[in-house]
Assembly symmetry: C2
Homo-oligomer: 169 residues x 2
């Protein structure tokens, strides 16, 4: 039965149109973000959750590291981190060897907030996604894993702009 689903994909879409698929994925996900925002009434920005998630998955990291990892400029990272700090969702740790460095770590409050948000979001979208089959959840999970993996890959590959040092000034 599950194999039928697979066969359907392989036969009906033997040639999947991948040309626009990634763009369509981003647009669809963006729309889903809006649906989620209105369904949960969440006023906290996606950037906050993104940053907190990265910090949570990756463990303690420097501000600059966080900026390049999440592909935002260093000043933008500074601002988001300030917001997270005011919420007491992260803590800034002074590096004992380098006074310039602020190492960032998720605070217990932040870990809880993240967990709660994911759960709230899941529940809010249950009316829409509650009836998904195991196979369909499998597609979603595979996609999430894929994206995560490739985003991690991208850390080395592409051009990074933002710090003077990296533009050779």
């Amino acid at each position: 039965m599950y194999n039928n689903v697979m066969t359907a994909i392989l036969h009906e879409h033997q040639k999947i149109e991948t040309e626009h698929l990634l763009a369509d994925l981003l647009v669809a996900a963006n729309r889903l973000t809006r649906v989620a925002a209105s369904a949960t009434g969440d006023s906290t920005s996606p950037a906050i959750w993104r940053t907190l998630s990265v910090l949570d998955n990756h463990g303690p990291m420097r501000l600059g590291e966080l900026a390049t990892e999440t592909r935002i400029s260093q000043p933008t990272a500074t601002k988001i981190v300030q917001n997270l700090n005011e919420l007491e969702w992260i803590k800034r740790i002074q590096d004992p060897h380098d006074a310039r460095v602020r190492t960032l770590a998720v605070a217990p409050k932040g870990a809880q907030a993240l967990k709660d948000w994911k759960q709230r979001l899941g529940h809010a979208l249950t009316p829409l996604f509650g009836d998904l089959s195991t196979a369909e959840w499998g597609h979603v999970k595979a996609t999430v894993d894929l994206i995560r993996q490739r985003v991690r890959m991208s850390e080395q590959g592409e051009t990074t702009i933002g710090d003077r040092s990296e533009r050779g000034e």
Copy 2:
């Protein structure tokens, strides 16, 4: 061989943890958006592409319709539409029966811009996604289709805030 992939999902993850999966999807997609933005150097905002895509898929629609469909407030829709209009990517058509209504449609220039963007994005992410198997593309495509379908479903379901008329004022 492709069946092995499927079997792997079904056996190794017989019980997929769906609790946080949707949140993880949104976060991952958000990160991918950042990767794409930095890879393409695209200065045009995701909101512009989202709005243009919706208009392109749906066909001509009113501003208010666009706002509820994309789950943004009417004033936000007005602003985005103004930006799209300045780019000449959409056209505003006067409704002959109701002078208040501005019907919006994608202009040829906009359709081209959207197509070009999707292609640029696809190419820019080829280093990351070029090696995906047919099965993996299948997962992505299935996920995109799922999201689209459920987002469309959400039009009726959830609470809509934004217009005075809908808050009973």
